[in-house]
């Protein structure tokens, strides 16, 4: 059976301004990113016939910066296919769905976007405003929030502490992920945190939920990313070389509730990675650059393990010292600064950066041997998705 991945290509990318508190609407940021990506793809706005976004409308304040309909109305698009969904294979799910829609002939050029206004949403009340604004909880968080654990920081901290206990993983090893992200962010003008970060700074930073400290957590920001996926037979006459989709991975195994994760290898990342590798002849050894979801440092570790760059439990030793994951290392990781220092673009920053690296447009942060294969992942805990991209 022909794989749908062969029928599509990424033809355009764009990003809005990214900042801690931009004071702009989600729609304003989305329009900026969308127009940049349309221009990058050499398309007319009228040529777009699809839109896809995570998570769509009406979720936590700040996490849904713009929905499909708002952008459709703002640009007066004539759409043949659209989707906004929070229940996907990681934040990249709508992108994967868009690729399938294009492969099926439902659309030719789909603009996929992700907009966050988290920093502005927190302006008056801090984190509590976002995670605890309502006191009667009726969704899946009812098993978590009443116990004073409303945040993913708590849920992932439990996973991290198990990793420490079972495999001897250390704070210094997690610190290597944070420091690598910062070192790369210092070469990226769009990153939000660009001051040097020493291991002493890392170890001295305040605890959020043991063993995760402030620098293990990504940075809430305002910003938007847009990526255009096109039919492959319409991708060669664009301004930039197309980036091809080699394989996607989705998985949902085990209970959704974060407190029921079935051991360290049970996170959905494992199932997503297995699916992806089954759909390609390539393997972990073929990957030249990795843009892996680091909403928390330890999630990047989990993805390194799930994707087979090291054995389960060996992630700490793999990243220790930072040499292996540096720009000139054997597996350059999160070359734009990740979400830890680049800002929480919620998965789409990873996809954007993979295209930048495959095009060779990374400037000072470009991996020297221009990558041919990039892996992208998004999500943590019970939901996850990943992609393999080539040029």
């Amino acid at each position: 059976m022909k794989r749908f991945e062969e029928a599509v290509a990424v033809t355009g990318i764009g990003q809005s301004a990214i900042g801690r508190r931009l004071g702009r609407s989600g729609l304003s940021l989305t329009v900026e990113a969308a127009l940049a990506s349309i221009n990058d793809a050499g398309l007319a706005v009228s040529e777009l016939d699809g839109l896809a976004t995570f998570p769509g409308e009406a979720v936590d304040p700040g996490l849904a910066g713009c929905g499909v309909w708002e952008l459709r109305d703002a640009l007066d698009l004539r759409l043949r296919w659209f989707q906004g969904s929070p229940q996907t294979s990681g934040q990249l799910g709508p992108f994967i769905d868009a690729c399938m829609a294009v492969a099926c002939g439902l659309a030719t050029h789909v603009l996929c976007f992700r907009t966050v206004c988290e920093a502005s949403a927190q302006r008056s009340g801090g984190r509590g405003e976002v995670v605890g604004s309502q006191f009667a909880v009726s969704d899946w968080r009812r098993w978590l929030a009443p116990f004073g654990a409303p945040s993913a920081a708590n849920w992932i901290a439990l996973y991290a502490q198990r990793h420490f206990d079972d495999y001897g993983t250390t704070r210094e090893q997690l610190g290597a992920i944070a420091r690598n992200a910062r070192a790369n962010a210092m070469l990226n003008p769009a990153a939000v945190f660009r001051e040097p970060l020493s291991i002493e700074d890392y170890l001295a930073s305040r605890m959020i939920s043991t063993p995760l400290c402030l620098y293990d957590c990504d940075v809430p920001i305002d910003g938007s990313t847009a990526v255009i996926v096109s039919a492959r037979d319409r991708s060669s006459d664009r301004p930039h070389d197309p980036v091809y989709l080699e394989a996607v991975g989705c998985g949902l195994t085990g209970p959704f509730s974060w407190d029921q994760i079935d051991g360290l290898t049970g996170m959905a990342a494992t199932a997503a990675a297995e699916t992806m590798w089954r759909r390609t002849a390539l393997g972990p050894g073929d990957v030249d650059v990795a843009e892996l979801y680091d909403g928390f440092s330890v999630l990047a570790l989990a993805w390194l393990e799930a994707l087979g760059f090291c054995d389960f439990g060996d992630g700490g030793r793999f990243v220790e010292g930072g040499e292996a994951i540096a720009l000139d290392g054997k597996l350059p990781l999160n070359t734009q600064g990740g979400q830890l220092s680049g800002g929480r673009l919620h998965g789409y920053g990873m996809l954007h950066e993979a295209v930048v690296q495959l095009r060779g447009h990374g400037g000072p942060r470009q991996v020297r041997q221009r990558p041919e294969v990039a892996v992208v992942s998004a999500g943590g805990g019970p939901f996850a998705g990943c992609l393999l991209l080539t040029r």
Binding site: S138, W143, P146, F147, N154, M207, S209, W258
Partner: protein, 166 residues
């Protein structure tokens, strides 16, 4: 069954409730943090604390315990499921000390843990470990259930380090 004394002892015996009483903005209501809106299936879990009992769903067909509650056994898909009392004994499976203040009425630090109930391997729930210094809680620690009044008739099942009794 591990039941602890009267309401006053329950209230006074934990970090979390002491912390609430220190908060000048808290009123006399028992609600000091988010509370669930239970479905019919979940009501037993959230109300059993009134009788000092932790109620967990069990399948009458295959004997499997499961949590969160639901209308069907996830193992054999039998519909013969109902809440049943458990011993209240558990082992800490994963632990974190939360240092970030998420709610005005809930000052850190406090322990968030996943515990594995004694009845069945893998039967886990997220909870708090109270009644001890947060730093001493470790994976493998044996704990017993206790209850805190959450709101109206809702009780929060928390756990305390096991103490030897005569």
């Amino acid at each position: 069954m591990t039941a602890i004394g009267g309401a006053s002892e329950r209230q006074a015996s934990t970090h979390l409730c002491r912390a609430a009483s220190r908060n000048p903005s808290s009123d006399d209501r028992a609600v000091i943090r988010p509370f669930p809106v239970p479905t019919d299936e979940e009501r037993a879990f959230w109300t059993g604390g009134a009788d000092g009992v932790l109620l967990i769903y069990r399948c009458a067909t295959c004997g499997r315990w499961f949590h969160p509650p639901g209308p069907v056994c996830p193992a054999c898909h039998s519909l013969e499921v109902a809440p049943r009392p458990v011993s209240g004994r558990a082992t800490v499976w994963a632990v974190t000390v939360n240092h970030q203040q998420w709610f005005a009425s809930l000052p850190p630090p406090y322990v968030v843990a996943i515990v594995e109930l004694a009845e069945q391997p893998g039967l886990r729930m997220l909870t708090n470990v109270v009644g001890c210094e947060p730093e001493v809680v470790r994976s493998g620690m044996v704990v017993d259930v206790a209850f805190e009044l959450l709101a109206d008739d809702l009780w929060l099942p928390v756990f305390r380090p096991k103490v030897s009794r005569p």
